[in-house]
Symmetry: C2
Subunit: 273 residues, 2 copies
Amino acid sequence: MSDLKDLMEKLQVKPGEKAKLKDRDPRDLSFFDEEEETKGATAALAKEIDVLQDRLYAEGSRSLLVVLQGTDTAGKDGTIRGVFNSTGPLGVIVTPFGPPTRTELAHDYLWRIHAACPRRGTIGIFNRSHYESVLIEKVKKLSPAKDIEQRYDEINAFEKHLAENGTTILKFMLHISKSEQKERLQERLDDPTKNWKFNPADLEDRKLWDEYQEAYETMLHRCSTPWAPWYVIPANRKWVRNAAVARIVKGMLEAMDPQYPKPNWNPGDFTIL
Amino acid sequence: MSDLKDLMEKLQVKPGEKAKLKDRDPRDLSFFDEEEETKGATAALAKEIDVLQDRLYAEGSRSLLVVLQGTDTAGKDGTIRGVFNSTGPLGVIVTPFGPPTRTELAHDYLWRIHAACPRRGTIGIFNRSHYESVLIEKVKKLSPAKDIEQRYDEINAFEKHLAENGTTILKFMLHISKSEQKERLQERLDDPTKNWKFNPADLEDRKLWDEYQEAYETMLHRCSTPWAPWYVIPANRKWVRNAAVARIVKGMLEAMDPQYPKPNWNPGDFTIL
């Protein structure tokens, strides 16, 4: 297992970098040991994340926002289960962003996002996010090109605002290959317990694979900032994906180093009758 | 370990029953085996709850609402950790209810409650709840007695509405003794990692212990209904508390028996290119 700093360095899109997804291997194994060992390490990390989350909650002054993006079947739900199941629901809130409702459409595209940002002391996980506004909306031309062009800078400004006000941001793009997506869609057709996840519309999106990859590249290029960098996670193998995300989340929480608040009283001040 | 039906029968307040908390032993061990064995069984139950929750999520048509009430230090947070940590944050949402904000006070007392009810397919956990409106508000006379008297029936009608619209409701009162509370408050004073949980105002509430117990009894008597019964959980021992709640939650999810939805297509209808 390699160094966390190396891992982050390798997976991060540097501010200003023109990220080419073809140069990033979704099957990359170079940062991990053998599968079973890595799974054990991830389970241990998940428990450490739980402990750090408890301190973050106690401290009550900062928050962590984890943004998950990826094509259909990229494994957003699976990442949440794999990395955060030991952390439990106390102090961790997942917000899935589907197509905007009529009420949401009556506001600007960041309105519902801002409303769902994690309160102090908590970890917020966005299952899809404001980035849909420069992905599906761009590929399917749901908004004028001029509006979409403005959004990259708007999003950067919004995230800077969050970062300056106590929210640490981690953005993960779960990167799978086109052939891996085919296998996963086929599994949803074949496995009765996964049928419910199959959406015929996903096949329409699959036809636009290249357009989506290009929109992702533009997003990575324009919106990887010093205050909210993107990480491209090799996600063809679920255990590699979970291991990479868990290590980065745990490393970031450790760097935040949340502290139990010091009381402004002494135990002797009180007598419990 | 005794039968689930017996356990539920014993802990449930029957509709119309005048519950006497003094007759319910917060140290009751009669329903459980030895401590280590019970803890292992609870961990196994937590994993089964996770599997059932996944089916509930897939089914997407019903929800489960878990209401947790109890005096300060009764262990509401601990119950959530103990029973739901394996279930993770995907599909489980915890809502803590503190003193109402100015916006919330500008509405009726059920407004913020209704807004936080779990969406279909999810489990919602209320850490405190609408019952504060007949507990602290009654004991501290924060609302007119006439208003509070009306609330029991209003709450029953509200919960009936939820039940008839697809929400299964489980209400747990975590029952601890006055001496157990003393120990736990002292621990918060003495243990630096627990100092942040200590609130001097809790000592004021402790002086009103008897008044609170009486308000709880009235709540149990008036609001244990066929569609949303109260369970009084012996909570002096954390492992007993978690075991009892886990068994009832798991039993209820099993009785709900959520199903993976049947697709309205055949796998052969689609070819993935």
